[in-house]
Symmetry: C2
DNA sequence: TCAAAAGTGTTCGATATACACCCATGC
DNA sequence: GCATGGGTGTATATCGAACACTTTTGA
């Protein structure tokens, strides 16, 4: 074992975080992508937002930093979900070139820890100088991205369902603070990629105490205005501890 | 950002895997621990089996290598479950000393990717020269271990339940190839830390096609001999694809 | 004959599924 | 007045939870 270490005494192993941030546009899930600055001329060059982990940080802190830069939100909801470690993931010469350009450093090996996060899609995003642009992209129309970022998104879609089952409150991170029942249903349909029966969904929702109906209704719609609901975090947290 | 990298141009970041291997002794879950070789005199020095990731490997391969060394099994069942990345995890001087002794290298920062695995507890384990001993330890009586290994085991206990729900077949990795219904029930009780009703459990199990009753029975027991069952992998895999 | 564990059914409540029509509104 | 989505109830099947006594065997 020591011989293997001795050989690569000067090998630089770096660890990054990459964030899959989902947003919901009332029809489908979207992923937040950034356009990386590069010298190389090319059509588009979109990737997941991410960063190397700094010396004083742990991975959660690095992911929070990346998302705070993009959204300005300090206490964003966020979940580590998998490490991607294949030595092959940094074999594409374009990607190696970009890494050295972006970090002014030789990077022999880069593994990444991926994070899942959720964001209201109409939130104003920051202009982050190191990116040419920041944009939402429908999850079914993603471009080919560098490294293994397409695979990371693929696996994050399975993770989001496990997350919702474990903590149903996180879906409200994707909706405006007042929302209709059909917005909520369409969000579930997008997450589970499955149509849900309107009446059964209504029955289920009306049994949930922490989804509170308001007197307010939609305005400016060309049909009967739907009732608005809000998510009550306090009732949600009580849910576990009380027997009813 | 470049300044931060420039400063630590020569910082050695290493990435390891650590494996939480569970075994079941008919009463409780046990974790496989190794005693590390150390110059320092001390009473006991148990930790999770693990290794740095080698240059040509990905993390899954490193975890397979570690477990193959210990058990001799090539195709062991295994699941990545979380990365532990705090800069604080390698702040204990004893741990730093051991790392430098074991790897003959300066290691400034070590993050680890933890794996969950399952093993029949009466399997003969290999003598691995780099460890003084390899032993099973009941999960409720773990010693204080180096780094954040106690926390890793803690979190692996939550993960194992999610794993069983996603893939119920994995519980049979913890049982002998022929087992009684009460052994299976006690295993579920250990995993969920909850007593299960014998009759309801029986009803559930007898409805599962891939748990096959045999004609064989227990021998040498001081009470009525229980029927043996086996797990049928072929029927298990069919389960998903056929409608019933 | 005693101790220890095996083996076995019924009832009840909760939950998921399937399914169709009228209502309110803006254009 | 029509197009668009809002709003609602019933019947059935399935699943999980509670619950107690008899049987077999070896010591």
């Amino acid at each position: 074992m020591n011989t293997i270490l001795a050989k690569d005494h000067f090998m630089q192993t770096y660890v990054s975080v990459d964030c899959v941030v989902f947003g919901f546009d009332n029809t489908q899930l979207n992923v937040l992508l950034v356009e990386r600055n590069t010298q190389l001329p090319r059509l588009r060059d979109l990737k997941l937002p991410g960063s190397l982990i700094y010396q004083h940080e742990n991975a959660d802190e690095a992911a929070h930093r990346v998302l705070n830069e993009l959204t300005g939100i300090k206490k964003i909801t966020l979940k580590q979900f998998k490490s991607f470690t294949s030595p092959e993931r940094t074999r594409n010469p374009d990607d190696i070139g970009w890494l050295e350009f972006a970090y002014s450093n030789r990077i022999d090996r880069l593994i990444t820890i991926s994070y899942l996060s959720l964001c209201k899609i109409n939130r104003r995003l920051n202009n982050v100088s190191k990116y040419q642009s920041v944009e939402w992209c429908p999850v079914n129309e993603l471009p080919t991205m560098p490294f293994d970022h397409n695979q990371i998104v693929e696996e994050s879609l399975e993770e989001i369902r496990r997350w919702v089952e474990f903590d149903p409150a996180i879906v409200f991170e994707l909706l405006p603070s007042k929302f209709t029942e059909s917005e909520l249903r369409k969000l579930y349909e997008a997450i589970y990629r499955k149509e849900l029966d309107v009446r059964n969904f209504h029955k289920r929702i009306s049994g949930i105490k922490y989804i509170v109906p308001l007197e307010e209704r939609q305005t400016k719609v060309a049909h009967r205005a739907a009732r608005l609901f809000k998510f009550d975090k306090i009732l949600y947290n009580k849910r576990m501890t009380t027997i009813e």
